[in-house]
Symmetry: D2
Subunit: 381 residues, 4 copies
Amino acid sequence: MSQGTLQRVRFGMIGGGSGSAIGGVHRMALALDGRGELVAGALSSTPERARESAREIGLSAERSYDSWQELIAGESVREADDRVEAVSVVTPNHSHFEIARACLDVGFHVVLDKPMVCDSSEASRLAEAVASSGVSLTVTYNYSGYPLVREARHLVASGAIGAVRKVFVEYHQGWLANDLESSGHKQASWRTDPAQSGGAGALGDIGTHAEHLTRFVTGQAPSELCADVRTYVAGRRVDDDASVFLRYASGASGVLTCSQVCIGAENGLTLRVFGDAGSIAWQQESPEQLVFHDANGKRTVMTRGGDGLSRDAADATRTPPGHPEGFIEAFANIYRGAIERVRGIDSSLSRFAPTVEDGAVGVRFVEKCLSSNGSWVSLSD
Amino acid sequence: MSQGTLQRVRFGMIGGGSGSAIGGVHRMALALDGRGELVAGALSSTPERARESAREIGLSAERSYDSWQELIAGESVREADDRVEAVSVVTPNHSHFEIARACLDVGFHVVLDKPMVCDSSEASRLAEAVASSGVSLTVTYNYSGYPLVREARHLVASGAIGAVRKVFVEYHQGWLANDLESSGHKQASWRTDPAQSGGAGALGDIGTHAEHLTRFVTGQAPSELCADVRTYVAGRRVDDDASVFLRYASGASGVLTCSQVCIGAENGLTLRVFGDAGSIAWQQESPEQLVFHDANGKRTVMTRGGDGLSRDAADATRTPPGHPEGFIEAFANIYRGAIERVRGIDSSLSRFAPTVEDGAVGVRFVEKCLSSNGSWVSLSD
Amino acid sequence: MSQGTLQRVRFGMIGGGSGSAIGGVHRMALALDGRGELVAGALSSTPERARESAREIGLSAERSYDSWQELIAGESVREADDRVEAVSVVTPNHSHFEIARACLDVGFHVVLDKPMVCDSSEASRLAEAVASSGVSLTVTYNYSGYPLVREARHLVASGAIGAVRKVFVEYHQGWLANDLESSGHKQASWRTDPAQSGGAGALGDIGTHAEHLTRFVTGQAPSELCADVRTYVAGRRVDDDASVFLRYASGASGVLTCSQVCIGAENGLTLRVFGDAGSIAWQQESPEQLVFHDANGKRTVMTRGGDGLSRDAADATRTPPGHPEGFIEAFANIYRGAIERVRGIDSSLSRFAPTVEDGAVGVRFVEKCLSSNGSWVSLSD
Amino acid sequence: MSQGTLQRVRFGMIGGGSGSAIGGVHRMALALDGRGELVAGALSSTPERARESAREIGLSAERSYDSWQELIAGESVREADDRVEAVSVVTPNHSHFEIARACLDVGFHVVLDKPMVCDSSEASRLAEAVASSGVSLTVTYNYSGYPLVREARHLVASGAIGAVRKVFVEYHQGWLANDLESSGHKQASWRTDPAQSGGAGALGDIGTHAEHLTRFVTGQAPSELCADVRTYVAGRRVDDDASVFLRYASGASGVLTCSQVCIGAENGLTLRVFGDAGSIAWQQESPEQLVFHDANGKRTVMTRGGDGLSRDAADATRTPPGHPEGFIEAFANIYRGAIERVRGIDSSLSRFAPTVEDGAVGVRFVEKCLSSNGSWVSLSD
């Protein structure tokens, strides 16, 4: 390994200025391992706020741009060893497609929040753009970055629970149990505005995480679904609650629920997978434990960082067992995957980082749920 | 309270001999508080086993009968202050109706396991029999006997969580994940034999508990459901897994799942109810805690026996907080309710003990799930 | 097993009338399995209350006695197949010795609450009385009756955790964090009155449970201790908090803490035993799980009633896994042990039921803690 | 806040090269918030390894030094706006004093791991060096950086639990249950070598964390202690287990245990504080919850990031509730405190970052435990 000195991947960021919830998370995830660095930004669509945000985080004035178009233009003309190599797009959903495609067009790798885009048409076109660009796109389905989620995937793939029969996944929050958007709350406002959210509410914001997590762990996508989608808060223009039956070609079935009106729930993302020879259970709010039952029902509680875990889990691990890793570390594993993609490194981190295809499946899932109206619909149409 | 000495209610038992899982539970529940006593039995349909079982539990030979018909006949002719006042029926489901009706006909109160009977027709006729008998019938939906389930009901009824929006209830077991019935396992055999089970499998055995628990706590019954019912174990003749969407006239909705193929699950009965001003969560396997979130999401963990609980919960409580009560004590609360019914005592225990109407709702619920085939069906037809 | 009909052991009870906390527990524990029956009582030292209490629980007026002396006298003259065979003594501690010895003297087996007696002198004399009586004495160290405590003992005895190095045991309550005794609270009053409690407070009431539990599970008694004993509530005449270092001849060491001023603690009895090849952990408030770590730190969570458990645990089990057993069932296992002793049955239940020797060790432990004054004292003096 | 662009604090690091456990943690903690940057290093005492480690982490060859002396010399002669402002010292304990003092002497702020130094004499001299240097020294008692630890401190300080009566703190690990040091394991080797560890084993490595955490939360230091210190693994030259009674001038008392032979324990740091009007409990392995009991025993579970928490907790928080923060984030809060000290910012982060005085108390605590021999010793001598 005695090659040259590590060269950090140079990132730009579009969106993520003051008041953004997720911009700071992306920056922490990028910074954590010292393998990437943020060198440019168009942090807000309001130029003054963009500049102010840049100052706050120590970005040079020279590379703080007033719009995403200027960032692309300005960085494109810099020297190859100086300009951004990748761009993190953390704007509201409706602008994902246009920005991401523009980045790809000039050869910048893209890291993109979920839901990737607003509809399947955009998803298809974005996939084409990636294919023709020669660079990569990574979707931050960040929960798949938890080490014990990687272990869960490994256990299922290695046959430890046998053939999957039943999946229960849920993602419950309570923060939108009331009409928070009317108060001007920034996060609530754009997420419940169909024009910015991409059309869906809870389904796009958290249901798509549950969908991806399940698919990542089981290695299967459902072929049919039946969804009961609801809006509980009066006046809200998007769904805030959905329950979905899943059927798989393998004969497995499942239940996915997502809701933002579950008072008391914070980020209650829980996955249980039952096979014919065992089962696993994992909860995002206690991410350091994975419960495994063998065919006889014997219960083992695995902890992150322990000796017997798979290489996939170890690759995603930073601290010894009992020194908790959390959300930011999991997010950083997606970033490490994106960075290794940029650098052409083949590893579990780069292989597992969600792709444009993963993003497209998620978009399609949300569309089908919204069109189900309580009846069964095929996902392969 | 300085009246005469306590007179225990005299019970007979039909079924529940050696090898029975539930007979012993009924006897412990009956004995626990010293307010009832078992004085007669027809403990098995096999006469020799009935007699042997009677000896094992200390029942007098004189009042150990060779058949349930003989028990009814034999006890009916004893003196009024000596004969059984109530009969516990703990036979497989298919014989519940006939036995219960015969008991009612001679004026014996009845305690009956769930599912109460095999179909709605039997349920209607049994309800009529109760009405015309002048005595009571109690169905042992035992989970409603837990003190903190009573507290949960009280909280919902008193408005502590506001209007109910969302219900999640599940009852997951793993003991039938394999073809246990082929091995001759007694409990597995009759429960998976449609002729004895009443037609349903998991739905009748545990789904009906989930249905009752939810109804007991919320005070609402769904008006429509959509069920995805499955049999995972090859060759099995009844359902072993079901997922059910629920819709309520109030606008609330819910998801009920029950399964007997969830390896590692034991008696995983969990209820969560979310209202527009709070929520509650309770798990049968940790029955001593009830989690309450107020409208601001503040989390209080209530423990059984504590000072601030309702009278309803206190009525069902025997030991101080931290000295765990469990399944048998909850079951005994149903028996105390039945006994107080026999004695004509009005109390939360007697009021809350499930009735023939509760049993009928449960039977109907199972029927509708089995006929849904993944589509919405009305429960009011 | 086709002998004659089960003959229940006939019990009398001394103490345990209205207002008693523990009398009802003893009666439920006795009744639960239908192998014993309460036929006589001197339920209170106040004759009228004794009679009233007897009526409330359905005891015949004829066998409700006005004093314990009358009970012994009255029962002694009944026919052998009618009179009590055993007596449960549930009076405050200061009267244990006199009553128990009187029962033994007339050949009644004794079931006695802890702390067994008030000092080591009484303990020695009681041990002699048992030896010369030909009958048995059982001390209700009830926590040792939990099935998973029996499993823990089995695991240690079978070498599953190797040689014991370290023991942590605690019994924390909060109910005496304030001067409850001044309010006239019955339980608080006698337990904090040295004349009735036997001299100790928390140490006698709960510390002795922790001591026995540890000894039962590890099979070892400490040889030295160093105790820091305190009284936090002003005006209280007994200890309400104690911390004790333990040293064992084997080289093991431990820490025992007991306290009644830990606000929020209910009956927080927790035992952890670390060996050189594994460890176990158990909590009384979650008694249905036993955590086992093997030499590699692999964590298995054992649940009561499961397949892989020892015969000792199975003997103490009534319901399948996931149908919680609790405090009363554990207590009933001590009673089953006492009953099997009376009947001369050799079983794990009768072997494990605590003896007069166990009671004497507990009394000595308390004495030594009270005399330690923060210095090391030998337990073998 | 529209001043100039954020200027990151420039750090150097001494120690922390390949194979170091803690070097990477310090770097992640430093990088997480983008307020500091690592610009120089002497990452190993072996020059070739120092250079290789520098390349791996992207440190320029020019500022990778072959020894800590060269780092200090080389950086001191750089321009003021370019040279390191602070140095993280992450070497084994025995070299802390010399290195830290040398850094202070040239005006570099110091961040130092615990135990700060090897004895009280070094501690006094280091405190003097800080006083005369005009720069700051921060000791990474990292567990005090958890947001809910800050909340716990706030609750105690604000009187929410009344006057402290009883403290239970434990830090249990199992990784040294066997003679791991003989295998050449790097971390085990130096930590069990008295010449490098500073003399203590478990007490210095983890006991001192427990001591600081307790003092941080309660605001009190014990005045006397009595310690039972042990070495369980044959041949080991330092303590691997200790139990300590604590007495406070306020009348409070406590029990501190630390052990590295508790098989199955990972980083089991748990603190419980009982006052006369409430209590708190916190566990490092589940750092996102703080359990609070009020004077009536009502149990509230507080989660990090929630609305009702104190400013102190909020200052230390990055993600919303339910998106777990962990060990690295807590560590980063200590770094943020150190950075704000360097910048002269007064904030809860800078005020709470542990000082040389905190480090000195910890060193003294360890010394006194080691000299106690099971007897009471004063901490004020």
